[in-house]
Symmetry: D2
């Protein structure tokens, strides 16, 4: 078993990056060197005898353990992007507007046998994202700190998927067309409806087909002893426009 | 270039499984043998000179081209399952309740370097699903025609993900626990709220953690000259309960 | 008992405007003169002995029995207008853009001890609405066939509520301000989001307070033997902007 | 002009019940005796010269100024009840489960030329509601502090509308049938889906027609300089079941 792993008990979880030193929990201290002789699924005890389970660090844990800068895109939206573009796990993906790196990390995780190029021009965001990629041990992310509008001209390869979550998304749409393979998808994520409309119109104008504009809502259900009722933690996050180069 | 490919023009698309014979479209006839000398991204003409684009057959095309028996699960729900379980593309997946095979096919597509075992007891459903898997050329699906409640006892391997879309889902939950790896996920898909509640309660009782019950709504936006407005093609499909073995 | 009344049996209902002649139903013929000796709540039989219940003609029956021209505003939206403006039943209301007359009729019904002035410039719409008002026996509706932008200058009285469901809504907002009492409300109903935004901005600029922009969604639940699930007959109808003159 | 009135400036508002004494605002002190010579729509100044507008106290102000015990029903739901039952403003209404008195007050306000009987068995709730009714100067509410299951037997009159927002709603449904006029409506408000289903089934069994089970969602739109986006302050409040005695 190699790091990273997650130690978990009820709603408490700790990301362990190195099997050395001591972890102070409110249930007592864990000697992390003991992890060297354990395997995924085993338990480890604090000095007070409280047991934590060892589980692998997977994409679903990114949300809890990533450092945050901008508001990260949520799993409901990431799932929609993957399913509605039919992402194959050996694709070449361009992610423009790294932000926290949540989307790039998720995409790299699913696209394990392919590559993700992520571009961000704000250095302070890129730094936090880089740290998140390191934590997640994702080796198929190539991070570029620059303006994608300039750097993209140098890209030779053809992309299967391009995702934009950035200010100048409209300007980049014609370049996205050039960079995509036939059959590939462009996805633009945007919090505001007016911008979403502009993106939709420019994508239609640039020749994209099957262009669709939507938002994904997740309605949770709470099952209490007295009964079941719906609730939403977050209602609106962003609009998604998807089109295909045909 | 090998079949299958899709020939597409505007909203018309044809799945081509063999590069032989003739395809009759309302725009004229296409000689499919010509496809042997073409590649993805090329165009092919009908005898009337109307051009169709050749694109790869990807998961997003399953919905249009699969044969249907039961109502298939929709991409919005498939995406949520993938993102909320953090599916790695080299996983071992059990899909109980094959139905049309849509979910198994999608999962096999994303989980390209892993395997999907799908089980269905209704022979007529299994037959249609088998045909769909053949069309999609998915080699990592193992189809079993039997009652999963019996056949599962023979499974030796540990699963990363188990998805239930079947009548006796509740009865299978304890077996699902036994079959999962530590850190693996159980997902139960269900159209009715009362059944969803029962699933939730049994999963809690069986020891699953981070159990969450939700539904995914896709709100489309139509951008017409006169303005933008939301609409939904389909509002409710099913509820999803996800839990993790920890 | 005086007409109009409704004869109802299961999902079949007939609006009776005169207690004379014969009504042919698929359950047999009803002699309407018999209604003269009956009262609300009584039953009346067809010549085949099938019984219909006599109920009053109320606002909830407008939807079934009104003649239609444009798409009528729905009860969910009418209810929101009434509740969010705190309509008192002795108000003076201006309804600009009569359409089918559904909203004017509903408002006149609730505002029984007040008055509703409704204005429509398209003669063919006004004619159908007039017929609907006649059917509903609403005596407190004053119908004007003209362009409200011109005719409004002649209005001397101060309104408690002004509702706009018409093309030139933006142009009328400053006039609406002048026509409202202090504490009165302006409501603008609109199917498109871009227009809704413009309305919102102009209302803010004209000095309206507590301006709110929203849409009302009605989610129905179907309780079948196999379980309960949500559905929507109609998802989006229109956006509502409400502001108050303070 | 008679009290109560509301003094309002931007988002600050004060309910004034007596035209005597002094009101301390963060903008300075207002001498309330000056209100005796003012009328609705006038302004009144603090000793610092900041002006407040005098507006009438209407139903829309109940939400801000009522004292709270239980969670009050929201305007979106009150509007749906009024519109879907076609409430005439001279009706006889029974409101069982007074709670904060919000619904009774709203109904009394709309039903100005009719009467509302409201029943609550918890004395501490009834006391707060009584205070709210007093503030709103609603003279057509008759408040009973008792268990509606017992007290209802004494009701001789026939009701146009009965609304239940109380624990033993199911038990009261047969009595509600007896108490309603032909053509009248029963409305049951309930936060949980399982209880909603039971209510629905009992109403069907008791003979109610046009029974419908739904929930009302209000989606707000925020129009900022950077763009428009939806949000919800409160997603789920309660389910509404409506049926008609025919």
């Amino acid at each position: 078993m190699k790091p990273p792993v997650v130690l978990i008990r009820d709603k408490y979880s700790f990301l362990i990056e190195r099997f050395e030193g001591k972890l102070h929990t409110h249930d007592g201290i864990i000697n992390l060197e003991e992890l060297r002789n354990k395997k995924i699924g085993d338990e480890i005890s604090t000095h007070l005898g409280v047991k934590y389970r060892i589980i692998p660090f997977r994409a679903v844990d990114f949300f809890k353990h990533f450092k945050r800068s901008a508001t990260p895109i949520m799993p409901k939206d990431i799932g929609a992007i993957i399913a509605h573009t039919g992402l194959s796990p050996d694709s070449l993906i361009l992610d423009a507007g790294t932000g926290t790196g949540m989307l790039a990390a998720y995409l790299a995780y699913f696209n394990k046998y392919g590559e993700v190029i992520t571009v961000e021009k704000r250095k302070e965001f890129a730094k936090i994202a880089r740290e998140n990629f390191r934590i997640a041990r994702l080796k198929n992310i190539h991070q570029i700190v620059s303006d994608v509008l300039f750097v993209a001209d140098g890209f030779k390869k053809e992309f299967d998927l391009i995702v934009l979550d950035m200010k100048d998304d409209i300007k980049f749409i014609p370049k996205a067309w050039d960079l995509l393979k036939v059959g590939g998808h462009l996805v633009v994520y945007n919090p505001y409806i007016e911008d979403t409309r502009k993106v939709y119109e420019v994508m239609i104008k640039e020749g994209f087909k099957s262009v669709e504009s939507f938002e994904i809502i997740k309605i949770n259900y709470e099952h209490k002893r007295v009964g079941t009722r719906p609730f939403t933690r977050v209602w609106h996050t962003g609009f998604i426009v998807i089109g295909r180069k045909i």
